[in-house]
């Protein structure tokens, strides 16, 4: 059902968090009097992860990229939708299937000072996953993992504690821990954002070697588009819990379609004073994900707001005519001929019909 080399498929994933209330409020709620609010952190996200591919998840803070990443490794149970791994839907997977999935999905975190247990030596930290899945010849595997993470000679690091290591070294131990089970894919949540610039490239080259030498797939989560351009084969831009644009990195960055992606790229400062960049004045701030507006979530800030269709009809993320990337925006006519104007309720439909949907793409 999925492409031959697709490792993982995310199918309309949703994750909502109940706004936390005291026990009295939940008491009142069980009597049906109070209705709980939900934070719609991830609100219907679908994408595929192919083998040996690095997929970037980009967006401002609060857009749901980290929650999505954590749902991929089952740190969160999806509220709706599902994740398909090895042709099994994880929500229906048996315990042994879950245990096998756990061996093949690992994660690297942002803060090097918090991603290692301060009370555990490097050896214990890297060996722990092996012990959980009781895989034998632990010491040899730990050694190999540390060597791959360029912590040479590995034995010297065995008995060291995290507080004796630098930020870069800690992040390498975290990578070794993620690798030791020889997983199929790794979710990396802003792995280098807390490292000094001059040290980042060293850690990033590790992630590259993982995909090239291992055939490992990486989901790279970051707000730093220039870094993502360097690292990722494909890119997905998220806004308020949904993907607004997804496709090969070069297409998404070089000929951007969605107005939000365009604003995001224009806002990135360039480390070259001689080159100017076109400044798009985008007002306001990211919307509140508790009571979600109707239609397109970017409508309040969108420089190319068309009218009621943006206001009422949620633009689906789909193949658009004449581009390689999928875009969720009414500016473009969808390849499969879906016409958003039909869903328009009320009289306003007639007024908008006149305006042809193929108005010129907004970004030039």
């Amino acid at each position: 059902m999925t492409g031959d080399d697709v490792l993982l498929e995310v199918d309309n994933l949703k994750k909502h968090f109940k706004v936390n209330q005291g026990w009295i409020a939940s008491l009142m709620e069980s009597f049906g009097s109070g209705s709980p609010d939900y934070v719609h952190a991830v609100d219907g996200v679908s994408f595929e992860l192919r083998e040996g591919e690095t997929l970037g998840l980009a967006g401002e803070s609060g857009c749901g990229k980290t929650t999505t990443g954590m749902s991929l490794v089952k740190l969160h149970e999806p509220t709706d939708g599902d994740i398909v791994y090895d042709n099994t839907r994880l929500s229906e997977a048996s315990d042994s299937e879950i245990k096998n999935f756990r061996q093949n999905a690992q994660m690297i975190f942002q803060d090097p000072f918090e991603s290692l247990n301060p009370r555990m030596t490097v050896y214990d930290t890297v060996a722990e996953p092996l012990r959980i899945h009781d895989i034998r010849n632990e010491t040899a595997r730990v050694q190999r993992a540390l060597e791959f993470a360029e912590l040479l000679p590995p034995e010297q690091y065995f008995n060291q504690y995290p507080h004796e290591l630098s930020g870069g070294q800690r992040q390498r131990v975290a990578i070794a821990r993620a690798l030791v089970l020889d997983p199929d894919f790794i979710v990396a949540d802003e792995p280098v954002s807390m490292l000094d610039v001059s040290l980042r490239a060293g850690v990033l080259s590790l992630l590259d070697r993982m995909t090239d030498e291992f055939g490992l797939s990486v989901v790279y989560i970051s707000h730093d588009l220039s870094l993502l351009r360097h690292m990722c084969d494909r890119l997905a831009i998220m806004y308020m819990g949904k993907i607004v644009e997804k496709g090969p990195t070069e297409d998404v960055i070089e000929n951007t379609q969605h107005p939000y992606t365009q604003a995001l790229i224009n806002a990135v400062p360039v480390p070259d004073p001689s080159v100017g960049r076109e400044r798009v004045e985008l007002q306001g701030e990211v919307g509140d994900v508790v009571d979600i507006p109707t239609g397109c979530r970017f409508k309040a800030r969108c420089p190319d707001y068309i009218g009621d269709v943006c206001d009422q009809v949620l633009p689906p993320l789909e193949e658009k005519v004449a581009f390689d990337q999928d875009v969720a925006c009414h500016l473009y006519e969808s390849a499969e001929g879906y016409d958003p104007y039909e869903d328009l309720t009320g009289t306003s439909a007639a007024a908008d019909a006149g305006e042809s949907p193929e108005s010129t793409p907004a970004d030039d």
Partner: protein
């Protein structure tokens, strides 16, 4: 959700906690090993007097009936009669509770005023000799048993120097029953009696707020906005009190609520040492005399005072910290 619903929710919680304390007490006296009635009757009574008394207390009724009656009495504050003096327990409470409140609250307020100020200063002048000495005094205040300090104070100032009265709340013959409670409280003689126990109790209470305030000050002083205040060119004193102390005050409120649990214990001991006619001392005497209704009644009053003061502390916290949004 607003303050109103917080108050409602918190009162609900207050009632539930009170009910829980009452139930535990009910269970304590009835489900304990041995014959529960042994607490109710005193040994010299004849057999039938004993049965008659037990019947009058309905102790042979099924448990749940007793429980319902117990709760009804609780609500209407009727704790039955004292064996010892046949006085209704509520009367006993009415006479002794105010004395405890006067002693405890004076000591509490004095202790918190001194404790907080010393806490602010020792937090600000960190590493100085002043800070080290205040911390040591605070620790000693919490380490040496309060009744022992009372004994020593009584011995030195009472027995040896005769500066303070050895016991009681008023000298004999002055506190006539007609004198109203309030004019008694403000009479010099009462203050003279109050001085020693209040000071000893205050010394015991002072340690806790001082240490909490100091660590809370240290926490606040590492915040960025203190640097910004310095950059704004404010005087050191303004930063210390207006910004640092004001923020450091917040944890003190919750700490005060917890400290109340210990405060009552302290006042029970001090009342015993200084023979101060407070409800704590009354409870101890009732327990020793196996005067079960008075013991039960005084205990419930003490516990509900604590729970109520906790409730007040929670509300006060809301006013002091704008970030609390009661959701």
């Amino acid at each position: 959700m607003g303050k109103a619903s917080f108050v409602v929710r918190r009162t609900l919680q207050l009632v539930v906690t009170l009910w829980a304390v009452g139930t535990v007490l009910f269970a304590l006296f009835r489900l304990m090993p041995g014959d529960p009635t042994s607490y109710v009757v005193s040994s010299q009574m004849t057999q039938e007097a004993r049965q008659q008394l037990i019947a009058s207390y309905g102790l042979n009724d099924p448990l749940h009936i007793q429980y319902i009656r117990f709760l009804e009495n609780l609500v209407v504050l009727n704790f039955g009669q004292s064996f010892h003096s046949n006085q209704p327990v509520t009367e006993v409470i009415a006479t002794y509770l105010p004395n405890t409140l006067v002693l405890m609250l004076t000591a509490f307020i004095v202790a918190y005023a001194i404790g907080i100020t010393l806490g602010v200063l020792s937090g600000w002048y960190r590493g100085s000799r002043f800070e080290r000495s205040t911390v040591i005094t605070a620790l000693t205040a919490r380490s040496v048993p309060t009744f022992y300090v009372g004994l020593i104070v009584l011995w030195i100032f009472g027995a040896r120097l005769g500066v303070i009265p050895m016991s009681g709340m008023t000298s004999l013959g002055t506190g006539g029953s007609n004198a109203g409670f309030f004019d008694m409280v403000f009479s010099m003689d009462f203050v003279h009696h109050l001085l020693a126990p209040a000071v000893v109790l205050g010394f015991y209470y002072m340690g806790y707020p001082l240490l909490i305030m100091r660590s809370s000050m240290l926490e606040v002083l590492s915040e960025d906005f203190i640097d910004v205040c310095r950059a704004k060119g404010l005087k050191e004193r303004t930063i210390m009190f207006k910004h640092a102390a004001r923020n450091a005050l917040l944890p003190i409120i919750t700490a005060a609520a917890i400290a109340l649990g210990y405060a009552v214990g302290g006042s029970v001991l001090i009342e015993t040492v200084f023979a101060w006619p407070g409800i704590g001392r009354e409870m101890v005497r009732a327990v020793l005399r196996r005067d079960f209704p008075v013991a039960q009644g005084t205990f419930i009053v003490l516990a509900s005072t604590i729970i109520f003061l906790n409730f007040v502390a929670d509300l006060a916290y809301g006013y002091l910290d704008p970030r609390v949004t009661y959701d």
